[in-house]
Symmetry: C2
Subunit: 367 residues, 2 copies
């Protein structure tokens, strides 16, 4: 079987081995502090009774599931705590494909490369549909691509890599067309806390019985290494997903679950607002430098990436390596995000050196 291995680690290794100072704009690791309650929760957990170190329920600690359910306004029975949003997406996509209701999977291009990787691993067939030029959902062409052989559509909003925040009417149209063809829609909302324009609305508000919503705290709480995510299934679809979760992972790591539960309880909205403010400042200074470099780009409404296109410098792996060696800035090749953005490069703004990186790019491309 041939999976498409995501290339993130490859670029990071190249950057780490470079013979000069390189600003890492590759990984999606937040560079700011997690909520204090993460540290406190872990320390307290370390002192708890040994019985607390044993298996939690397979679908997650009950108070954590209830907290997530309350925040997302769903029945706790619909929630599975997963090993990050990555596992949540795997469970949702597997659920769609195991129904024998069609093996075609509609993904939006540019595409987060783990999605086609998972489709291939699960025996599905990827069909890429171009996003609109500004990175939002092209409703017409997306709905046109959905047919009797379609089993799954995956949406991601706020979007990695385009920074688009899909409007809820566009999502509704896709969900209804999917329902007409007995297809499930997985909506990955892991960047839900990074919505600069305040326009994000969760697909859960559609209350549709063919929608699986995934998310997690890797980005919102700046703890990508803890692996705490969740999937919210329609009630009628969840049981086989719980069984798959049990058969693959048994359950997920309890210290991390406990720390996240504590952080949910103790962390106010200021924490998330500060992260958004930090990012919008970086977006401003980065795009200002892109202007000076003569680049094309779309200002993101959410998530924490900027796609940029430099004339005569397509987004190949080779050019990414050139930028690492000659400008000291590591981005991701657009060509790893499907086919629609081959000419583009993705820069992650989760570094305190985003402005410095922008200066380096402006200088390099002005030469």
């Amino acid at each position: 079987m041939n999976y498409e291995t995501p290339q993130f680690f490859h670029v990071m290794q190249y950057a780490a081995a470079a013979d000069r100072d390189v600003i890492d704009m590759v990984s999606g690791n937040p560079d700011w502090e997690p909520p204090e309650a993460i540290r406190d929760g872990l320390s307290e957990y370390a002192e708890s009774d040994a019985s607390e170190f044993q298996y939690p329920p397979s679908d997650g600690l009950k108070p954590l599931r209830e907290e997530i359910a309350a925040r997302r306004n769903v029945d706790p029975a619909r929630v599975i705590v997963t090993n990050g949003t990555g596992e949540a997406n795997y469970l949702g996509m597997a659920r769609a494909l195991e129904r024998d209701a069609g093996e075609d999977c509609v993904l939006i291009d540019p595409v987060y490369p783990y999605y086609p990787g998972k489709v291939s691993m699960l025996g599905g067939e990827t069909q890429l549909v171009d996003a609109a030029r500004n990175g939002t959902l092209d409703v017409e062409s997306t709905c046109e691509a959905i047919g009797p052989e379609t089993g799954l559509i995956v949406l991601n909003t706020p979007n990695n890599p385009t920074g688009a925040v899909y409007d809820i009417d566009s999502i509704r149209a896709v969900v209804e067309t999917a329902a007409d063809h007995d297809a499930l829609v997985v909506v990955d909302e892991v960047y839900d806390h990074f919505d600069f324009a305040g326009s994000f609305k969760s697909a859960l508000t559609l209350d549709a019985d063919n929608v699986i919503v995934t998310s997690g705290v890797s980005k919102s709480m700046a703890i990508t290494g803890f692996r705490v995510g969740y999937a919210i299934f329609p009630q009628d679809l969840i049981e086989p997903a719980k069984t798959r979760h049990m058969l693959v992972n048994v359950t997920t790591s309890r210290p991390a679950q406990q720390a996240v539960y504590n952080a949910y309880r103790e962390t106010g909205p200021d924490y998330y607002a500060a992260a958004r403010d930090r990012l919008t400042d970086r977006v401003d200074s980065f795009t200002e430098a892109l202007d000076r470099a003569g680049a094309e780009y779309t200002t993101p409404d959410g998530a924490f990436y900027v796609l940029a296109r430099f004339d005569g410098f397509p987004g190949t792996m080779e050019n990414v390596k050139t930028l690492i060696d000659e400008a000291g800035v590591a981005g991701m090749p657009g060509s790893t995000f499907g086919t629609a953005r081959n000419d583009w490069l993705r820069f992650a703004l989760v570094t305190p050196r985003a402005t410095e990186a922008a200066e380096r790019l402006a200088e390099y491309f002005a030469e």
Copy 2:
């Protein structure tokens, strides 16, 4: 798709809801303290730099992988740190079945129920081969069951539920027969530290290119909820398993990895020896009471379970519930471990009340 849902949680819920004191001999959760270095490692980690809270390498923290590799005397490149031994088994079994080298999977009966559940989820066909009456491997009938359609054999030593420790010559014979038919052998050694007779020898010592060994610290360090396990693949087989691991889980939880690394470094052999001594004491008192109850049983050489058979009281779910209600002892029905031990019950000795439970059983069956 129809997976066989493991019944552990069902019995535990029934016992928890019972209207009387019930001694839990269902779950495989050690009831003793983890190494002190687990708590210390977590506390120290809680204070580390925020960058330490981000993604570790997909296949695990490098020092942890190296520590595991050194302990198992293999190249670190052959090790993947997994979300418990459960994920390790999933990766090994998936690796065997994705090769199109046969979809028949030979499992030894009695069988840990997650194995046939995973086989079914992965699209394979389970073929059960009876263990010998004393729970060890029946080499002749196992090898006879391996043919051109066989893609996978799963062995578990020390064995859950029989307590048998397979001798290495038996394993070698199965591995060689498997190799003749291009089948892989997954050997689950999660109970490797619970080897009372000192006769355990790892399948890694065979140095065979069709053997995948899985294990973890859930049992040995008494932290089933942390989810730290590992799979050791032959070099030629590991890359697609790493990709699958990445596509399913991205990586596993870092706080737990860090705590386990610390515990590997700081914990001496006395810790493991004390756990073995505690268990052999329990085996003695429990089997002594089984004698008084007139039960048939095999004294385990390893792991921490006893299979027992009481005349006229087969190991059905109904009888398990009767024992919970009438004797105050919760075991597992033999019928959940394949078909070979339908008449038997499994009792986990990981409770400080094992002796008390034995008295209750002796009294109940003496009536």
